[in-house]
């Protein structure tokens, strides 16, 4: 059998087997789920806007946590990614830096938040550190790979001027990667705003704590208001990202 047929066929069989195992073909269960969705939807409408003052304060805390956490993580990720660039440092230095980044990245943001709640107690400080930690692991890996993809001709040409490693970072790696650095940073900020809205589930501050209370007390109209607020913030963040990209990304004219 030709590979052009075999590969899609294998993928299809695996997908069907996975869906069957996960219960996608249990018609009764699916029908019950859709009925419940209708009930849940009807219990969420109309959203209860009276909680806006409480939710607004929690939302602001969430935005602060994600903004501060992302930038702190970014500041820590840059040097780590530079140490993880094999073109700048010996193989073992790069391996250690990449191993540290991989280790940090392995732990999900929610788990990081729990760790920092244990260290610093309940509240947004723990959430900020949790977001910063996850950001370091993610951005350090992305940036190290980005720096390694820098055009070798530029490195050779600027290297032949006698530039030091730090000067190469400043004048080649950072400006050549500027667009991707900014794009990934914005992506991380968007991701962290979504992620930080559930950190309150483990006591790490922000909207999550309020959401958890409304879920446990079955106050779905109030929960709907929170979800709407998150949607507004995410849309605002999208617009902000688009503006930053348009304003700062370098493109040929």
């Amino acid at each position: 059998m030709r590979s052009t047929t075999l590969v899609p066929l294998t993928i299809s069989i695996f997908l069907l087997a996975a869906l069957a195992h996960l219960g996608f073909f249990d018609g009764q269960r699916l029908a019950r789920g859709f009925r419940n969705l209708g009930i849940l939807g009807s219990e969420m409408i109309p959203p209860d806007m009276e909680i806006l003052p409480t939710a607004g304060a929690a939302l602001w805390e969430t935005v602060e946590m994600s903004f501060a956490g992302t930038l702190l993580g970014f500041l820590a990720a840059l040097p780590l990614s530079i140490f993880g660039t094999r073109r700048l440092f010996s193989l073992w230095v790069a391996h250690i830096a990449r191993f540290v980044a991989a280790g940090i990245r392995t732990i999900p943001v929610l788990l990081w938040a729990i760790v920092f709640v244990i260290l610093f107690g309940l509240g947004p400080l723990a959430g900020t550190f949790g977001i910063a930690a996850y950001t370091v692991g993610y951005l350090a890996k992305i940036y190290a790979d980005l720096f390694e993809g820098t055009d070798p001709e530029i490195l050779e040409a600027v290297g032949s001027t006698g530039a030091s490693r730090l000067q190469l970072v400043r004048f080649v790696f950072l400006p050549e990667g500027a667009n991707a650095i900014l794009t990934q940073l914005l992506f991380m900020l968007e991701y962290n705003i979504r992620a930080s809205s559930i950190l309150g589930f483990v006591g790490a501050g922000g909207l999550g704590f309020v959401m958890q209370v409304y879920l446990q007390t079955l106050e779905y109209r109030r929960l709907a208001s929170i979800l709407l607020l998150i949607l507004v913030v995410v849309l605002a963040m999208d617009s902000f990202s688009a503006w930053v990209r348009k304003r700062f990304l370098l493109t040929a004219q």
């Binding site: 490195l155 050779e156 001027t161």
Partner: protein, 249 residues
């Protein structure tokens, strides 16, 4: 271009052999001696080893066997900063940082002699900035100093790359396939500017080229490569005046 008594030698290569990962030899027993101030053009068909030879002469690639020296100093024993005061290198795609301006790219030529942390903030001594503007002016592109490189045309980028090397102020510049993708008139104008700048700054240029007309205009010497070896009889300046090289290339 052969070694001549006690005359000073800009670039000396002795029995250079080179291969990539122990495959076939790309350079085979290359020996040459280039006097200072004599601009040399390396010619040859694609795959003849021109770029590899240039990289070996620039000290970027170490040969499997043999020895290269520039003004009597072995290129492989020098620290990068020491080497940069002797040798400048312009790769085929020029190696410019596209997101920085023409002036910032030229200023990079001074990095080898600037140790202080101010450069990391993008602050260069006034004297270096003035020299960088002079270098751009010498190449006829001072009015584009503030333009990012990605906005410049091919010819303008070539001028920026040369200006960066002028600011580096090495004694020898090696340029790979320089001006090869420009139209003849523009390439000719740029090469004329380079010759003037080289005479003023006392720099010896070695360039890979594949256009005979430009080689005749620019080169004092020509060296023809074929299959990794110097074509016998095709080393020296007399060949520029003959048509025989055209038949070989």
């Amino acid at each position: 271009m052969t070694r001549n008594g006690n005359q000073p030698v800009a670039v000396q290569a002795n029995q250079i052999w080179f291969s990539y990962r122990n495959h076939d030899w790309v350079l085979k027993n290359i020996s040459l001696s280039i006097p200072p101030g004599k601009h040399t053009v390396i010619m040859g068909p694609s795959g003849s080893g021109k770029t590899t030879l240039l990289r070996v002469l620039a000290g970027i690639t170490k040969p499997g066997k043999g020895h290269v020296s520039v003004f009597g100093q072995s290129t492989y024993e020098l620290e990068p900063r020491e080497l940069s005061s002797l040798v400048g290198y312009i790769p085929q795609q020029l190696g410019l940082v596209r997101n920085l301006t023409a002036l910032e790219n030229v200023l990079m030529g001074s990095l080898g002699r600037l140790f202080h942390a101010k450069t990391l903030l993008g602050l260069f001594p006034r004297a270096e900035s003035e020299r960088a503007r002079e270098a751009l002016d010498m190449m006829g592109i001072a009015h584009k100093a503030a333009e990012p490189v990605f906005c410049l045309s091919g010819g303008e980028r070539q001028r920026v790359a040369i200006a960066r090397t002028l600011l580096q102020h090495p004694r020898v510049v090696l340029a790979d396939e320089f001006a090869s993708d420009l139209d003849l008139a523009l390439a000719s104008e740029i090469l004329a500017r380079i010759r003037r700048a080289a005479e003023r700054e006392n720099i010896t240029f070695i360039m890979n080229m594949h256009r005979i007309g430009l080689a005749r205009q620019f080169g004092d010497n020509v060296l023809a490569l074929s299959n990794g070896a110097i074509v016998p009889g095709f080393i020296g300046n007399e060949i520029l005046e003959t048509e025989a090289i055209e038949a070989t290339l």
